[in-house]
Symmetry: C2
Subunit: 584 residues, 2 copies
């Protein structure tokens, strides 16, 4: 069944096969989403309903516009943390200004995603390199877990970065509410156990493997129910255990937040980063799941759908949203066949808001904090850093810088440091391209690096193979290298540049080549080019550079053959098939 | 003779041959440098002696440390303009704070050049692409010429950018001093004529061609002498003609300017740009001249020498310096053989400061303005923009942006816009690499683009040649492209990635390849690699990626040969020499 369009025959097929999978998936995801939505709203510094509202209109809009059948859109931990960091710079947590900032973050990032999608600019997300995003998510996970210490212990803490939060926890440790601590410890232990131990237990109790796996996802429902009952039954809210309290009953309001240009300008940069991180996280999940069914995801369409979902969040008092990893996997495993599963989830959340919110009054914040911690532990990947470092120092350095700056200075700074360093290291690498002096592999038409192979060369001809496109950061590098090389070996009469790996020659490189040509002329050395690619040749033909080049050859062998008569000694060893030609 | 070291035999040879060339060159350059130095000091908003001081210690330091025998270091127009722009942001022109800022600009850019030279970081200058630097210099030339209107007309103007200066000129046009205008027009006409008409005239008067060429450079001396005599003789300074006035007699003071950390931080960015522009201008000239004699220039040593020269300027009340185009060419043509020519120039300027400054009292500012305008006209290159645009839209756009922003917003903004746009366009280009589907050229071992050549393909094997290094900005591009391609053609059983033009695979690209592998596995397609380069292979071997790749082949032909038995039809046309192998 096509993931992107439901035509009439699809709908008939859907009625037969898809519906039951979608209904089961929506039910399981809803059970996860109610506590997770409230927990992530708490993480973002927003009232619990902001998380639940984020699971209604955004999900419906994604279901209409998106391209992934299994992606579960809604509040996610990293975006919640970034929202808190950004909103915290413009207003105090708990104030109307803070909530307004969160809404504008959703609206701005939604608009940016829409614009990027319409302009087909999804590729900009690629500038968040894998080491940067991976280091960022691990560091964000640590910050998130640290930020929940206050709810786990029932204390007050301040600050957003490790150097702020850790001293604040230590200073307030004496205020720990022991009942809160006991409650959160019990929930945490149960949730960690349930991830590994619950499914086997249910299987032993006679459930099928897949049924047991799904029911184990109900662990969240069990801790919400259990801890709510304990707090209510024992009256623990009177003994310092913080609870969720009143959640407005009914569907979210539909209104555009107050327009404030200064606020929007302040939030532009953080909202752009939230849009990028949210998009990268979501598209990775969507593509991984799509690949399992040999489906494809349209990145630009995903941007438009996620943009619309965030606009939907911004006008319904919700928090910013994106596709979340854990719920998407559950959605997929539970058999979600179409995006109808997401729409059904939205309807179930809506029904819960109409009926169930009074039941959540006594839900302790400690339970939500434990849910957050269990969720982010799966984001931590400490082995990624040594792995990246072993693969390439540049990637390792970018990841380490991202992690360190995120933990020490904050999420936005960390992302910017990582992206900036990645680009700087890339430019540094390409600014010193690999240039190999090559010679002929005896008896063949192949030419290889003189340092790696036994090859034939002649002192009068210098052949250099340039292993990089020539553009402004490295334009002068080749010029200087050739000049040094020629000055060292005055016998050189011919320079052949082998352009087989040169995919571009920009205006700076052309200027440099012209300068090189002038220098070679002044030194009495002739310049030849071999194996120039079609697009590069097309561009060079627009100039008069090729008129001044002494020779232009399709292959390096052709170049050497043409030069042979001019050399003092004929050193070209003809390949076997060439020798048969008469007079060659 | 070695350009870089003077050993004893060199000194003997030097005594015989070089001295006369160096002395003549120093004399001609000194005659140019006295008016040019004062003119560029005026352009920088500094007292005239700042330009003359810039031609003493800096020249001696460059002579000791530099590597170019012909480069004439000293005040230059573009650096003077940039100095005025930077110093103008922190203090009013004519105040001690302004002069302090100019000294710190020299010191900071000197230190930055020294550090870059010691760390061998000369390559960062390459990030000023040729179109950017060319557009910048033309735009700076226009701004410089515009800024001299006040001296040419004898009026007051304000502003640094075209939208500021032009209305200011128009508003004050009524105040034009007609005597000043007549004087500057006469000087301007004579100088422009002298560039073309003076040498032929002198030749007709019986001088040798080279002697006439050199003596024509004395035109500057003639206008200085002539206009000074006219102003003095007719008492024009009493009729509103502005004159140079008192220049302190004697050598420059030697003192470190007052330390001011806030000032230094404010000047850091502009000084860095001045260092970059100055270095790029200087190294291009030095290399062009060196090439004519098959000498080489050491870029890092040049940075150190120019850095020391600017430190020398900063501690002798001088203006920032670099290698200048016009005087270097004169120096070279006049026969400068060694860097002693520069040292001799410094001594002659020093002698002039001891003896000649009273004679410059009546020199009119209008003459200096005309000298500046004649000098910058040679910098203007209006044909560069259409040329760059015709060669490549990206280069043309970078140049146009640099010019427009420089003219409209200022020199620093223009440079930053140009560099930023160049990098952004480069990243955009490499983020969408060229990927060609290839097939076998019948009867050969060559594989070529199916859209350009008549080649043999089979529906069960998709071979893609990637024409770019794989790194984070384009990592996911290939993954998405392959996924789309495979989804479109379900017959595909094997994907061969031909890596002949892939010079790097970074961690993001590796992650993307692993993701691609997982998707291909899920879809039942096998992944093969061919023609992987040595350094890329070395890096991939550090991971387990290659263990999961189905096949790894030295050449694309080997890959197709290995796959042939698995295909429904054998479509591989063996190349002639291969056919001879038994059983192939």
């Amino acid at each position: 069944m096509s993931a992107s369009r439901l035509s009439m025959p699809d709908l008939r097929g859907y009625a037969r096969a898809g519906l039951s999978g979608d209904v089961i998936a929506a039910l399981v995801v809803t059970i996860m989403l109610i506590p997770q939505g409230m927990a992530y709203a708490m993480l973002a510094g927003l009232p619990p309903q902001a998380g639940l509202y984020g699971a209604i209109l955004p999900l419906l809009l994604y279901a209409v516009l998106g391209s992934s059948p299994a992606l579960a859109v809604g509040p996610v931990a990293v975006v919640a943390l970034m929202t808190a960091a950004a909103a915290g710079t413009v207003a105090e947590i708990g104030t109307p200004g803070y909530q307004l900032a969160a809404l504008w973050i959703a609206l701005i990032s939604g608009i940016l995603m829409l614009v990027m999608g319409v302009l087909r600019m999804g590729f900009v997300a690629n500038f968040l390199s894998h080491p940067v995003i991976s280091g960022f998510i691990t560091a964000a996970g640590i910050l998130i877990a640290m930020s929940q210490a206050r709810h786990m212990l029932g204390i007050q803490t301040t600050g957003k970065t490790l150097p702020e939060v850790i001293p604040s926890i230590i200073a307030n440790l004496a205020d720990t509410n022991l009942i809160t601590l006991a409650l959160s410890a019990a929930v945490l232990v149960f949730l960690f156990w349930s991830r590994k131990g619950m499914a086997p237990l249910l299987k032993r109790l006679g459930l099928s493997a897949s049924g047991a796996g799904l029911l184990a996802k109900g662990a969240l429902f069990l801790v919400v129910l259990g801890s709510t009952l304990v707090v209510w039954g024992l009256g623990l809210d009177g003994q310092g255990v913080r609870i969720v309290g009143d959640i407005p009953r009914g569907l979210p309001p539909l209104e555009l937040p107050a327009f404030d240009l200064d606020l929007i300008m302040l939030l532009l940069m953080p909202a752009a980063m939230i849009a990028l991180v949210g998009y990268v996280e979501s598209i990775s999940i969507a593509q991984t799941l799509a690949a399992r069914k040999r489906q494809t995801i349209d990145p630009d369409r995903e941007l438009i759908a996620l943009g619309a979902a965030n606009l939907g969040a911004g006008i319904t008092a919700a928090m910013p949203v994106t596709g979340g990893l854990s719920r998407s996997i559950v959605n997929f495993d539970a058999g979600a066949e179409t995006r109808a599963a997401g729409a059904l989830t939205a309807l179930m959340i809506g029904a819960s808001l109409l009926a169930l919110t009074p039941l959540l009054y006594f839900l302790p914040s400690a339970t939500l904090a434990a849910i957050i911690i269990v969720a982010v532990v799966s984001l931590l990947d400490f082995r990624a850093l040594p792995r990246a470092w072993a693969y390439s120092k540049a990637d390792g350095a970018a990841m380490a810088a991202t992690m360190a700056v995120t933990l020490l200075l904050g999420v936005e700074q960390g992302l910017m440091a990582g992206v900036g360093l990645s680009l700087a290291l890339h430019l540094w690498r390409t600014s010193r391209p690999h240039v190999a002096e090559v010679g002929q592999v005896p008896g063949t038409g192949h030419f290889r690096n003189i340092n790696r192979y036994e090859v034939i060369t002649t002192p009068e001809v210098l052949t250099l193979r340039v292993d990089e496109s020539l553009y402004f950061p490295n334009a002068r590098y080749l010029e200087e290298l050739v000049q040094t090389r020629i000055a060292r070996q005055p016998e050189i009469k011919h320079l052949v540049l082998m352009f087989s790996a040169v995919n571009e020659v920009d205006a700076s490189a052309l200027e440099s080549l012209e300068m090189l040509l002038a220098k070679l002329n002044a030194s009495g050395v002739k310049l030849h080019l071999s194996e120039v690619k079609g697009p590069v040749m097309d561009r060079l033909r627009r100039t008069d550079f090729l008129d001044h080049v002494d020779g232009l050859y399709l292959t390096q062998y052709d170049a050497m053959e043409a030069l042979a008569p001019e050399l003092t000694r004929d050193t070209l060893a003809r390949p076997r098939e060439e020798r048969r030609k008469p007079g060659a």
